[in-house]
Symmetry: C2
Subunit: 206 residues, 2 copies
């Protein structure tokens, strides 16, 4: 059986998933973990530390799982497809939801800012690495900024997660639209050398 610390981390995740950050108190988390309320403060000092630690541990675990799948990606189209299934898996597990809840909480609670930036950074770093790799093969390679794109993609993921909470059908339509847009990127990837040069010239003009 798990030790108290792990039980509390697990309890924190479960509580945020089902009741949001607003419903996560030392009492509710301890109850979900099946341990005494005072142990939150014994093991973590305060509630915020427990919540952020839980988020970090869980995010590290999930990023680890996806690292090898991301390493197999060889085109932007494949990345888009993996992104969609990743979104659906994480949505079902409620992991991104926890990140989103803490991110919202971090806007006005400075104690959360740093740890949540770090958790977000784990995803960003992974996405940036893959983007850099696959973009090198396209005409966009030396013109678009993989670092910035990785951050845009991460932010969009969080936003979509929250959007889905109030309008699942709308979120689905959004994902389908992005799929279609992906076809555009595919076209660019398959461009012949002549068209490639034309595109580069256009892009440089900006």
């Amino acid at each position: 059986m798990a030790d108290t610390r792990s039980k509390l981390l697990e309890g924190a995740m479960r509580t945020i998933r089902s009741h949001g950050i607003a419903g996560a108190s030392a009492r509710t988390v301890a109850a979900a973990a099946g341990v005494n309320q005072a142990l939150v403060f014994y093991h973590f000092g305060n509630l915020d530390t427990l919540l952020t630690e839980a988020c970090l541990v869980a995010t590290r675990a999930r990023v680890e799982v996806y690292r090898e799948e991301l390493a197999k990606v060889n085109s932007l189209r494949e990345l888009l497809d993996l992104g969609r299934s990743l979104h659906e898996e994480e949505r079902a597990l409620g992991n991104v939801a926890v990140l989103a809840q803490l991110l919202a909480g971090a806007q006005n609670e400075t104690a959360l800012t740093e740890p949540i930036r770090e958790a977000l950074g784990l995803w960003v770093a992974e996405i940036e690495a893959v983007l850099t790799r696959v973009m090198a093969k396209t005409p966009l390679g030396d013109l678009a900024d993989a670092a910035g794109l990785a951050r845009a993609v991460s932010a969009a993921f969080i936003g979509l997660e929250l959007f889905e909470g109030v309008d699942p059908a709308g979120a689905n339509a959004a994902l389908n639209a992005l799929d279609q847009l992906g076809a555009l990127v595919e076209v660019v990837e398959d461009l012949g050398p002549v068209a490639r040069r034309a595109l580069r010239a256009k892009l440089r003009k900006r």
Copy 2:
């Protein structure tokens, strides 16, 4: 001077802006409004109703402001540029932040779901209308889904807003990257008839 109802709506906005939804209690909102705490319940019944009403009123006002500017947009590039300045203005005013906070709260509080979906819908409808109009002029017109795209864009905006709260530099990099990506769209818009047909064929294959 404004009546109590308006003062409370204004107080709710200010409180959520500066302290998030977690810091918005009947007492803090009433204090920000300069009125008695009990009046929250007299005028709105409960706190959630006040918060969602405030968000709806504010969103309606902002959408109204941007409607005429959006009507002037004639290309995806112009829309992208307007989007960026809109993001910066709303960020400074803290309006999108309120929407994001309530959206996060709505994930686990069913009383918030419907009103927030409605507020979000105000932006979505506006963006969808513009997208439909400008996309009709491009080769994407009859292939990409304006409704889905509008939802994706809205979700991404919310996500970016939250991202900016913990990593402003990263959010800025994300916006710059989207700007560069916009150039790609511009290229598509300027495609000659031959390339246009080639693109359409490619897109239809998917």
